[in-house]
Symmetry: C2
Subunit: 356 residues, 2 copies
Amino acid sequence: MTRKILVLPGDGIGPEITAEASRILAACQARGLDVEVEEALVGGSAYDEHGEPLPAVTLDKAKAADAILLGAVGGPKWDKLEDLSKRPEKGLLGLRKNLGLFANLRPAITYPQLASASSLKPELVAGLDIMIVRELTGGIYFGQPRGIEARDGQRVGFNTYVYSESEIERIGRVAFELAQKRGKRLCSVDKANVLEVTILWREVMDRLAPEYPDVELSHMYVDNAAMQLVRAPKQFDVMVTGNMFGDILSDAAAMLTGSIGMLPSASLNESGQGMYEPCHGSAPDIAGQNMANPLATILSVAMMLRYSLGEPGFAQRIEGAVGKVLDDGLRTADIASEGTRTVSTRDMGDAVLTAF
Amino acid sequence: MTRKILVLPGDGIGPEITAEASRILAACQARGLDVEVEEALVGGSAYDEHGEPLPAVTLDKAKAADAILLGAVGGPKWDKLEDLSKRPEKGLLGLRKNLGLFANLRPAITYPQLASASSLKPELVAGLDIMIVRELTGGIYFGQPRGIEARDGQRVGFNTYVYSESEIERIGRVAFELAQKRGKRLCSVDKANVLEVTILWREVMDRLAPEYPDVELSHMYVDNAAMQLVRAPKQFDVMVTGNMFGDILSDAAAMLTGSIGMLPSASLNESGQGMYEPCHGSAPDIAGQNMANPLATILSVAMMLRYSLGEPGFAQRIEGAVGKVLDDGLRTADIASEGTRTVSTRDMGDAVLTAF
Ligand SMILES: CC(C)[C@H](C(=O)O)[C@@H](O)C(=O)O
Ligand SMILES: CC(C)[C@H](C(=O)O)[C@@H](O)C(=O)O
């Protein structure tokens, strides 16, 4: 049965990097991968065309797809939109919510070839391999009530940080299961010394633990987690946390690997349908200049093949090809260092295709 | 007029480190500083004695003081207390709220003698000097409604992230004024692409900007701020943000200096009354072992002398003495490195007194 893949280039460098990833997908098709690939608009580019960051036609295609590849959304062009519901980010948040993509997996891995690109001392990041599991369809991102309103003669802004037991349990199970397949250590991050919602979070994690006796569960306050990531990131195996803390910690973790231009991510729902995207953003400052790093997006294709399409063979071939071009010393500007050759987005895509 | 200082040792290493700081205060008194020093209980130690983390007698003394020196609160001993209102942290939060200490100033400075202690490459942190201004009496820490309750047959935890215009304006002015006295750059951190409360935050900061034409205001999303702190911390001068984001970012920033055992902080109210404490926590794992670093607490005394007591001369003398012992190669275990001499808490206090 032919599987459907929807490619959503998005904004900024999105179109350039997804173009390279699509070429890799085409190469997989040429070697027998049975998929059908379509494109649609999301984010600022969708707003410009349809007046909506997530047009109905895009959402319909997304629902019908087995997997989605997203570039990135957002940029200064749309930052001034007063109406938050029209912002590019709402396209992304709408996809997550409407498809129920509650489990965001963000690996923070240091590529051996790139350890020196980290701002941390090489010995602290060499061999680093953390998996951050972020809840993606709840928490303060979606909590009600929310808004800005007048109270006692002045305006007040408010949002609600809310989680139910079942939401916590669902993401907790994903994290425990991942930990079972990895180093068997799970660190749950909360702020249970201040926030009631995270007291419940901690309680549910503790309740799940006996069902996964081979996994060692620990708890850490979010401020300490931010410190420990900076101090000694290799102490972590799998981390699990809510939407907002996950946003902050996964970006910090990705950056400290020095490999942020290389890191893919997956957002999965209960039926295994997934959206795949690079960890980095839309980088509007370098958009259209053929200099963005397409490797995180290409590796997102590999992650998609593994997690949503059950094609580990193709995934491995892509990862192998990426490893080869790095070994050959090719680098886009973001990961360039002395003794390597700086290449363009397209050249990098060409090189991966050749090595594939 | 004799000024009153209240010392609150707290929990964990708190008593050891405030003991050294108190000796420095006594040395200042011996040289003519006209202050009266008292002690009281707060946090877990207060709970053990009075059943409350912030007993009325402590709060009364705190209100009557011109300045407060706090060690640290919290520890595993009290982590299992079901009732959040009895936890040690509530003592700290209660002091902040009752005294109106809305402005938390957290310098992240790399001591030249300690640059190699950072997990970041030395060139990225040498000379680092960031001031993080964190709002301390509002935001999600204090927002109502909050709690855990049953809804539709399951429990739900919730907290409210809320700021009014006047709260934002008040902390914004503190940050702009600090920026004027420093490098004239202010970065306001929010999540205005997702959270309404921070849209209002950004709007108020923008509205204040024309009143401080010599300060360059920028905005950054919190996830990006966490990344930029790791990538290139020296790009920042003053940062201003809400209570929760400030908790996370200030700890990350403190850790990346490599000097976290050295960093003081101030929490000020509108009348200049202040509470001073080290950035680090109560470190229960090393409590009672005479090995904690007392320098952040000693430097908190210096900060107190400067900001609340108008005694820059004494402040400078203390800072000079601390610089001298570092130059002499004395280090507590947390900041020890090759070629330096590891000393105890008490020895470090002795050395500062001698150099004073
Ligand atoms: C673009 C933004 C809404 C989004 C988020 O905050 O989730 C991004 O930062 C991410 O982490 O995917
Ligand atoms: C102990 C805790 C309540 C406190 C906070 O979260 O504010 C601490 O982390 C701090 O930053 O002073």
